[in-house]
Symmetry: C2
Subunit: 522 residues, 2 copies
Amino acid sequence: MTSVVSSALDGFAAAVGADHVLTDEASLREFRDPFAHESWDDYTASAVVLPETVEEIQAIVRIANEHKVPLWTHGTGRNNGYGGPAPRVRGSVILSLRRMNRVLEINEELGYAVVEPGVRWFDLYEAIQAGGHELMLSVPDLGWGSVVGNTLDHGITYLPYGQDMAAQCGMEVVLPNGELLRTGMGAMPGNPSWHLYKRGLGPTPDQLFMQSNFGIVTKMGIWLMPNPECYMPLWLRVWHDDDLGPAVDTLRRLMLDRTIDHVPQFLSTILLASVMTKRELWHQGEGPIPDATIDRMGRELEIGRWMMRSGLYGDESVVDLRFEKVKEPFERIPGAEVWGTKYAPDQFPHIENAIERVQAGVPSLDLNEMTGWYGGEQGGHIGFSPVAPLVGRDALALRDLLRGMIEQQAGLDYMAALIPTNARSFVHVTLVIFDVQNEAQARGAYDTCKLLVREAAKQGYGEYRAHLDFMDLAAEQYSFNDHAFRRFNETIKDALDPNGILSPGKQGIWPKRMRESANGGS
Amino acid sequence: MTSVVSSALDGFAAAVGADHVLTDEASLREFRDPFAHESWDDYTASAVVLPETVEEIQAIVRIANEHKVPLWTHGTGRNNGYGGPAPRVRGSVILSLRRMNRVLEINEELGYAVVEPGVRWFDLYEAIQAGGHELMLSVPDLGWGSVVGNTLDHGITYLPYGQDMAAQCGMEVVLPNGELLRTGMGAMPGNPSWHLYKRGLGPTPDQLFMQSNFGIVTKMGIWLMPNPECYMPLWLRVWHDDDLGPAVDTLRRLMLDRTIDHVPQFLSTILLASVMTKRELWHQGEGPIPDATIDRMGRELEIGRWMMRSGLYGDESVVDLRFEKVKEPFERIPGAEVWGTKYAPDQFPHIENAIERVQAGVPSLDLNEMTGWYGGEQGGHIGFSPVAPLVGRDALALRDLLRGMIEQQAGLDYMAALIPTNARSFVHVTLVIFDVQNEAQARGAYDTCKLLVREAAKQGYGEYRAHLDFMDLAAEQYSFNDHAFRRFNETIKDALDPNGILSPGKQGIWPKRMRESANGGS
């Protein structure tokens, strides 16, 4: 630890109390990337500061400016598959907002909540239930993350309001100079439309604070959907790998006409199998699992070659009409089957299937099982997640590219969730799963992902979110007009954060004083 | 004209051709606020430059930087009720993008178009029809404006994609330094998801270029909705002024559960009457029209005290179910009536009622009639448009505040369209209508609007968009934390546009060199 950091830590301790500044090795270990091999220390923090109030954050930011100490902010610090809570710059001080965990408001009449950044999906869900509110929260697959943190990282959730990640409305932000900003209608004192109308007068900066390092979000509005009369989780199963093409084209038409009106997923056989079983049950040899075995897994586990998880939400009479409308075109694919079960709101928490429960807005950790696929005591994964048009030919092209490279370069299994976040595009979440304690396997997974970044970009597919270990490389691919977008972000970064204290390197954005050494990919 | 401007004009002429630089008085007259009294010259331009290509815009921006000449950009320059094409700073050079009027792409499979900023709603609609595409465009009430210009000013459109003004996806922007930026996936060369996925890797700057002066948008993606099987324009009529309260509450519930899934309007008696008749038919005395007369207008024109225009879009079977669901709760209001007529897509262009046609995506100019209300040869209006929660008590409170001030301060009639741009909030568009040639009446209208800005803000209602003549005053009300939002915008403005050449004063954002003289309201 440098003496600069050390004297900043005295200031932090004065601001938040010495109990809330962690520097011992055991504590710091909890703030590493949980999926990094234990011998790796590229992304190790020097300390963790845990404020409880906005004023404490402002004080911390001012001290960090004085000492030019980089702060790496997180809500709860999950971010699994993308680097967890670890900072991009070794020796940064982690600003953990876990103690800022208050649900500040739930408004049933207008369907929204206001939360602090330490509030987890579990916490907000529980607060809604405890208040007896007839409202649904669009949640991600794992409920332990921060509502704010997930939203700021463009995280995907699955209910109707998950489309275009559009549930956020209105923010409060501590700027790098310590000033407090409220966005949208919140810029007017006492304006009751802060969390109701998505803009204000003048430009709307909210999305400037997502996937960036321009400010620290301290409050956020999130829209909640009134419970529908009926929710029907809906499944499609197809038996041939190339059925993915027509299935994607059918889904696009059904999403464009708003029959399917939320965020579904296409899941590959091995990904689904990894939640239900261990790999050794199916394959003991070297290299990736061959097609014939994947076919057998599909038959024996009754999960086919691809399944689509989806749902219908609304009045029961409308759900019934839509079910028929969905079933007919999908079942034109030979062997394809579509089925669903209807539930009323009081049944949602008791739905047995974890995926069906997540789609009903009930957070869970059940879907975390897959990372144990390769055995070992600790499974890990990297998310490699490019965006593509929601068209069958793109889905097949991307599958072929990614499967080929993951199998041939890394010798790992291709496990994919294709997630249409709207009717026009999907995120191909590739889960590159490995045994964290097998360093060679882990290193191979990271190296392969870096190759994938470049190869996917050559074909026009860019990542929606990038892992800490290849943020620079991923950002590097967004190079139109000799990196005009990077220069634009740098101009804003330098103007708002001249000392470069907030999350340097986040999503490839570096402050001036670190640019020469850091740019150009890792 | 200063010599600085004059030497810049030589440069502009060299860049775009002398024919495309206008300086004669007759031409400049066309670029005034059409509703300003002829004797007013606060917002008069010194010249108009009309480029045809992105490269020409870049050249103009570089010349403007050299000479520090302010450019005021518009698409087509309609912006009626908010200042038309006129610049905030007298003597600015208007950068008119009317010649950049190409529809660059229409993609039927994925439902989007890409347009240049001079493309009008009429143009894009016609291009969609000419291509035989089964797609609908969400249009505003008047079709002569620019698709890009309207979108950048947070303009309201009425089809399902009009909700939250969310149809825009992906931009190309000339920055104040002349550099070309592409946003979202467009920042990656050759990425086919530019107009399909609303974000990129890193922060999303699109909304930073709306209602601002940070760049010149040269290309924009806009989403188009597939034609539904059925569209049913839907009308609600209520007979008592206070019926607005329960009607608003009922609408909120029907929008929250997505039964009504587009942008409706509540229209006051006089606003509707102004489209159908002239004022002198009803009232010849001094002062605003009294309630008893408004009641009589409502009866004789069969428009009640408030009407709601709305629509249902979808499969006919679903539209039928939804019609029953809408009718029942509204008709619990004593005397209220709900009716609708079903149309198939091939009938949309032939629907007789202009409002019903606009809601079917067919652009029109029919709704421009209202400005002739006070007689005279030229009617004008100011849009005073605060945002409020979509709650009956707010609707009534805002009506009382605005009606009281417009009648008492200006002696004018209260004419209102309450427009829920989503299920949670509405824009109260107050049309302050006057005879442009009656200077005292016109001045009274402007003065009253300035009072309204302050009074509405005191009650927590802020404008969604501000007229040129009180942009500073409206922005002044967004004063949280001693104007932190203004300082934030100024920081970005100074970083991106150090010479302050792009649209100085737009939405209250001034560049450094003009700040001392300009700030503090008009």
